[in-house]
């Protein structure tokens, strides 16, 4: 029983990270119908920004988190303006390839600055509670609750505020909305900024949980988060959250039952199986309500 609960807790921690990153994929897809493959690397930059803030500036947890989120939000907007906006009328494939290129650029830019794996200092005091063999750490609680809070805040913003309404409107029809007086470019930039900053928050927490960071850390995690978004129904915000937790549970569950060699095999089979029977994901609809 303790063993089962411990694995559930592990799954919840991993799942909340995947969910946070998946939100970035799903928001951008929802609004522009493009897959921002550089998002996994924005997550990596987020971790490095947090590292820089914590070691060079000596900041504590909250300022570090805010610094990383702001810096990466700015980078996200910059990438959108410089790399994606000129291609808005181009073929979808061109934008996807550009995104892949931006991802590789970000990796190698980081590599040029820091080829060595870096060690993230602990930003919060470490406590561990033990309930009859079940270990619960302060870090685990922080990751789970902070991710939940960020996700709820985003969900509220998209559904209840004017900006959120504009996002939903753009995702509905990008050609008509400007005629209603919606500043489309500003809303798209804001979407990139929010998606990137959530990725940076995930990067910061990830770097605290798995405290050795390197320029390639975003690749696999990025793919997993992308799968989460697709599983939940890409373009759908609640779907991305659910997808993240499902993926975390499947990964941890696979390793708990089968030899751990099968983990990625099971995860990618899940994606393939789902794409055959329900290509629009769990919460998506064949004509999805985007963002």
């Amino acid at each position: 029983m303790t063993y089962f609960l411990q694995q559930c807790l592990n799954a919840l921690q991993l799942g909340s990270i995947y969910a946070l990153i998946a939100l970035g994929y799903t928001m951008v897809y929802g609004i522009l119908s493009m897959i921002n493959f550089a998002h996994g690397d924005l997550f990596m930059i987020g971790a490095f920004m947090a590292f820089a803030a914590a070691t060079l500036l000596g900041l504590s947890f909250v300022p570090t988190l805010v610094f990383a989120m702001l810096a990466v939000a700015l980078l996200g907007v910059l990438i959108e303006r410089l790399a994606y906006k000129p291609l808005r009328q181009a073929h979808k494939m061109s934008v996807v390839i550009t995104a892949l290129g931006i991802g590789i650029l970000l990796e190698h830019l980081t590599l040029a600055f820091s080829p060595y794996p870096r060690h993230m200092p602990p930003l919060i005091a470490h406590f561990s509670w033990n309930f009859g063999g079940l270990s619960l750490s302060s870090l685990q609680l922080l990751i789970i609750f902070l991710s939940m809070a960020l996700m709820l805040a985003l969900d509220w913003m998209v559904r209840r505020t004017k900006v959120g309404m504009a996002m939903r409107a753009i995702s509905w029809n990008i050609t008509v909305v400007p005629m209603m007086g919606v500043p489309v470019n500003r809303i798209i930039s804001l979407t990139f900024a929010i998606g990137a900053s959530l990725g940076a928050a995930a990067g910061t927490m990830y770097a605290m949980a798995y405290p050795v960071i390197d320029p390639y850390m975003g690749i696999m995690v990025g793919w997993k988060a992308f799968i989460s978004a697709v599983v939940g129904g890409i373009g759908n915000i609640r779907g991305a959250m659910i997808g993240g937790f499902i993926l975390g549970a499947v990964e941890i569950g696979t390793v708990a039952v089968l030899p751990s060699t099968y983990r990625d095999f099971v995860v990618f089979s899940l994606l393939l199986g789902l794409l055959i029977f329900r290509p629009w994901g769990i919460l998506g609809t064949p004509r999805p309500e985007k963002v």
């Binding site: 411990q6 080829p115 033990n130 870090l139």
Partner: protein, 404 residues
């Protein structure tokens, strides 16, 4: 003739034939020129190095490069290598393998065919050393890997016989697996061991297999064998499983970049058993990255700073003076690989790949930084001992020697 009734296609065929002939003539002339050029270049004492300068284990490549630069600097500052025709300066050509199998093979090919090096030192990790050694073998060029312990590096995959041109400066995985198993059973007196290893990496996989074979043959029990894939950061599921199996010790033959993540998560999840590592742990980076979570743990290694021989002390002092840090095992082994190669070149008498290979195989006893070594009859594997170290107060401390 294809179309005997029409002269037009005949003209085309003729033109093609003429072109082919001209191409042949041009190619043979340029090849001849290339060979002459190559023969001329072979007079220079040019040595290639393949190191993991970028990628996931850059500390390994940096140590190798530092040690080779030091070894060559020592020779060149003394006027050069003593050869029958007078002293000659050594010319180095360093390539980066990024710890990727394909890039290692590609750089080996480049060094052999384009740069015309006399011999190659590296790659260090087995992931790149295995494919690069196959290229060196087919290119008939000596390759000495300082740090690759995988048996496949010096064995031909198809015939199962030792490769003729591939040598190493370190011991091999079966030997390490065996001495670690004996250490756990006889010195630590543990019977129940769990293992966690990277399935996507050559060395950890074979080390775990060989450790398991020796350990169970000697009466030990493997209570859990878990795996992960290179690049993984979350080991919580595997460690929770290992914790439930309640082992006396966890065998973790991972590289220094994964070890800190595993041991720190293990501490958080309440795994109290000590960990045992392979020679891949030995980078000094391990200590700061782990933040004390490796304290008291053990690993096998090629050399220990605290029981250094006079030759090793001289090397350690020179390395510290030049780079302001202690050399790790990769540095020591790279330095020895250079030493072996220089001695072979001196004894070869002629500056060509074939005679260097023959001289290297005949070295009877080389006193290196990492101990005395000679190559086994007809093989590129040296006969040498291992050391077992423990991490105490953030330092690698010598525990015992393991003889072959």
């Amino acid at each position: 003739m294809l179309w005997p009734n029409s002269s037009y296609p005949c003209l085309i065929v003729e033109a093609i034939m003429k072109f082919v002939l001209r191409l042949c003539a041009f190619l043979s002339v340029s090849m001849l020129a290339g060979m002459l050029y190559a023969a001329e270049k072979n007079d220079a004492l040019k040595i290639g190095v393949i190191a993991e300068l970028t990628g996931d284990i850059p500390a390994v490549g940096a140590s190798c490069q530092n040690a080779v630069l030091l070894a060559v600097q020592e020779i060149n500052e003394a006027g050069g290598l003593d050869l029958p025709g007078g002293k000659q300066q050594i010319d180095l050509h360093i390539e980066d393998s990024a710890n990727k199998a394909d890039q290692a093979a590609l750089t080996a090919q480049k060094l052999i065919t384009e740069e015309n090096v006399l011999a190659i030192i590296g790659p260090n990790a087995s992931l790149g050393a295995v494919p690069a050694s196959a290229i060196a073998e087919s290119g008939r060029t000596v390759l000495i890997t300082p740090w690759s312990t995988n048996p496949k590096t010096t064995l031909d995959a198809r015939s199962g016989k030792p490769k003729k041109y591939v040598f190493r400066a370190c011991y091999t995985d079966p030997f390490e697996g065996h001495v670690l198993a004996l250490f756990v059973l006889n010195t630590l007196k543990f019977k129940r061991v769990a293992a966690l290893y990277d399935v996507a990496s050559e060395a950890p996989k074979s080390q775990t297999d060989l450790f398991r074979k020796s350990f169970t043959a000697q009466g030990g029990e493997m209570v859990a064998v878990e795996t992960y894939t290179s690049g993984d950061r979350d080991f919580s599921a595997q460690l929770t499983k290992i914790k439930a199996a309640n082992p006396d010790l966890v065998f973790l033959p991972s590289y220094y970049n994964d070890v800190p993540l595993v041991v720190r998560q293990a501490k958080r999840l309440g795994v109290t058993a000590p960990f045992l590592g392979s020679d891949a742990w030995s980078s000094p980076e391990l200590i700061p990255l782990s933040e004390g979570a490796v304290e008291g743990f053990y690993f096998a290694n090629h050399f220990a700073v605290d029981i250094a021989t006079p030759a090793a002390k001289r090397f350690i002092a020179a390395y510290q003076a030049k780079y302001n840090k202690l050399p790790d095992d990769v540095a020591a082994l790279s330095y020895d690989a250079c030493g072996l190669l220089f001695q072979a070149i001196k004894q070869a008498g002629a500056l060509n790949r074939e005679s260097i290979r023959d001289a290297l195989a005949k070295i009877s006893s080389y006193k290196g930084v990492t101990g005395t070594m000679q190559f086994k009859e007809g093989s590129g594997d040296p006969i040498k001992s291992a050391v077992i170290l423990q991490i105490k107060n953030g330092k690698f401390v010598w525990i015992t020697n393991a003889e072959p």
